[in-house]
Amino acid sequence: MAHGAAAGHGAHAHGEHDHHPTGWKRWVYSTNHKDIGTMYIVLSMIAALLGGMMSWYIRLELAEPGIQFIEDTQFYNVLVTAHGFLMVFFVVMPAMIGGFGNWFVPLMVGAPDMAFPRMNNISFWLTAAGLVLLVMSAFVGGGPGTGWTVYPPLSSIAYHPDAAVDFGILALHVAGAGSILGAINFIVTILNMRSPGMTMHRMPLFAWSILITAFLLLLALPVLAGALTMLLTDRNFGTHFYDPAGGGDPLLWQHLFWFFGHPEVYIIILPAFGIVSQLVSTFSRKPVFGYLGMAYAMSAIGVVGFIVWAHHMYTTGLGVNARAYFTTATLIIAVPTGIKIFSWLATMWGGSIDFKAPMLYAIGFIFLFVVGGVTGVALANAGIDFALHDTYYVVAHFHYVMAIAAIFAMFGGYYYWIGKISGKQYNECLAKTQFWLFFIGVNVLFFPQHFLGLAGMPRRIPDYPDVYAGWNMVSSFGALLTMLGTFLFYYIVFHTIRSGKPAEANPWGEGATTLEWTVASPAPFHTHEVQPVISAGDHGHGGHGHGAHPRPAE
């Protein structure tokens, strides 16, 4: 019945004779999922440079004890805050969800575009407006020096009397609204617009990961919006939600923030799981081991992620029973997480692995994620966390498990898909060099921070006692390597677009079985206008590619 739509799939080539707007109108008014995806990627790359420069400046200051460069400590706090916000909300989320999500979810599930193309445009421009507001906030008064957690009373009017924090709140509101609209768009698209035969249980894991991420966004972001609104009215209209003087409680903020914040870390890492699953399957030339287990492990992580938030608050005076509960619940997350790790390894096991740059990044991701997961399990124990909370150990944990791991998945995704996006293939030798530079860089940068944290060095300070000097210097040297690796990546993107070889429709061979490889490279402006029909023999999620390939729409 639904196959009726496919009746007309004759030989007419859509992409070529397509009328689409040109010049600036093509981008500003864009309703095309690929153009919007590209804009998200560009936005993310700009924000990454800003956020990156801030972190390198921070590491420059921290290379030696004493104050070298950043005399104004409020400015140091502003750097730390802006770095965190930029990376979380304007680098990782736009690249993985807005960028790769927009580009490849419709392609993978066989939909012609997103369900609400105009809303898609609004989502992007709200995100862009959020970025502008956030950058502006740094120039208002002393800037917001609250950290990305914005805890009152530090974020209250008494300690941040100018409008900087208000600007920051506005930036998050606007970007959050954009993300919520985007999430609704993804869910509607994935639930209602899959091609005939593309059942939920045949959907590629990347599409699954975006679906689950979208649900997390939907449930978590409104809570952040509510909490931020209360902070805004506390600051400007004399309410006392977080102010004990009026019967409020600053801990309420922490509960609300982390009720959003812990799911947020999964919002960042689930799309990375999705990308890595595609990469591992493609370059091992095998379907993902335990496909359904992988999909439901992600769902389980999403659900459990909502009931562990107070593991960020062990030291706030939680009762012993609450600590016992949150410790247990947090440790339980390690179970579905382990399922994912072992399934990736099992996928590689016995596969004919092709160590192209995307695969190196996928393996790098697994390594980093395991290291960060292990420190997470340590921190999950309230007793241990009393010693390690707010030290560099936590900084090392979350950079391994979330920040750098996500960046690795993004780099893998970039190399994997750049041919499909730009029509040009990257240079393998340059890319592998970039991988090794970056991989060594981040480990030299973050591994010593475990030692600093165990030795008691607190986070978010510009100066430290001399005993911490050695590992800080090492860490800053790692930051230098990381910086070079980052710049090399930008050069590779430039080089690929300028003088890369034309990319084939499928440069990866039989391992790449998802639908985006059935359309030309670069992907035409319109794809899947005639729905591809997937039969039971095809494994859209990365099965052996020999099955009858779904008909390309072009």
Partner: protein
């Protein structure tokens, strides 16, 4: 086929409407968390919120066996409030279930009447659920005339359950702490803190 397509579009719209409703509900939940949180703290004594209300048990039942607790009194004044505020007795030894009356004293240095309100908590936090206040100056706002000196009573008892709960059985010292804050009035002058910053 057209019908199927129309149905597809309706389904799409319906999904979107449901999702928007979810967003609204979660946003509402964030605000609902304020009263929920307060209720939760009062019911469970979470984060050191002492119980309030009249004693329902029988005074000093089984108290002799359970022993005694020392209740210490702490007083703080927000820097914006030109008051002196301190307990009359530093500490009292009470028997569980016994109703105890103690006093704080407050003095207004300023040359105008000032209204203040006190927040309170009990440490260790886990003992808060067994610390009951029957009457307290902190239940209402307090206005002091210029130079006025007042006595502020508190009536409380410690629930004998304190000794039965294995989690709190070893507690022998409880601190009751108050912090007085100025109550903001309509004609609000810029506070010293803001001027300083």
């Amino acid at each position: 086929m057209l019908g199927a397509q129309a149905r597809g579009i309706n389904r799409t719209k319906l999904t979107a409407v449901i999702l928007f409703a979810v967003v609204a509900a979660m946003g509402g939940l964030a605000f609902a968390s304020v009263p929920l949180y307060r209720m939760f703290c009062q019911v469970t004594g979470f984060a050191g919120t002492p119980r309030t209300g009249a004693y329902v048990g029988t005074a000093s039942a089984g108290a002799g066996a359970a022993g005694e607790v020392t209740v210490r009194f702490d007083a703080n004044v927000n820097s914006q409030l030109p008051w002196q505020f301190q307990p009359v007795e530093r500490q009292v030894v009470v028997r569980p279930g016994e109703e105890v009356l103690i006093h704080y004293r407050a003095h207004n240095f300023a040359d105008k009447p000032i209204t203040g309100t006190a927040t309170f908590n009990v440490t260790p936090f886990k003992a808060a659920q067994y610390f009951n206040k029957i009457e307290c100056f902190c239940f209402t706002e307090q206005t002091l005339k210029p130079g006025e000196d007042v006595s502020m009573p508190v009536v409380f008892y410690v629930d004998p359950q304190l000794f039965e709960d294995p989690n709190t059985a070893e507690v022998r010292k409880i601190t009751l702490s108050y912090t007085f804050f100025p109550v903001e009035t309509q004609a609000q002058q810029p506070s010293a803190g803001e001027k300083a910053l």
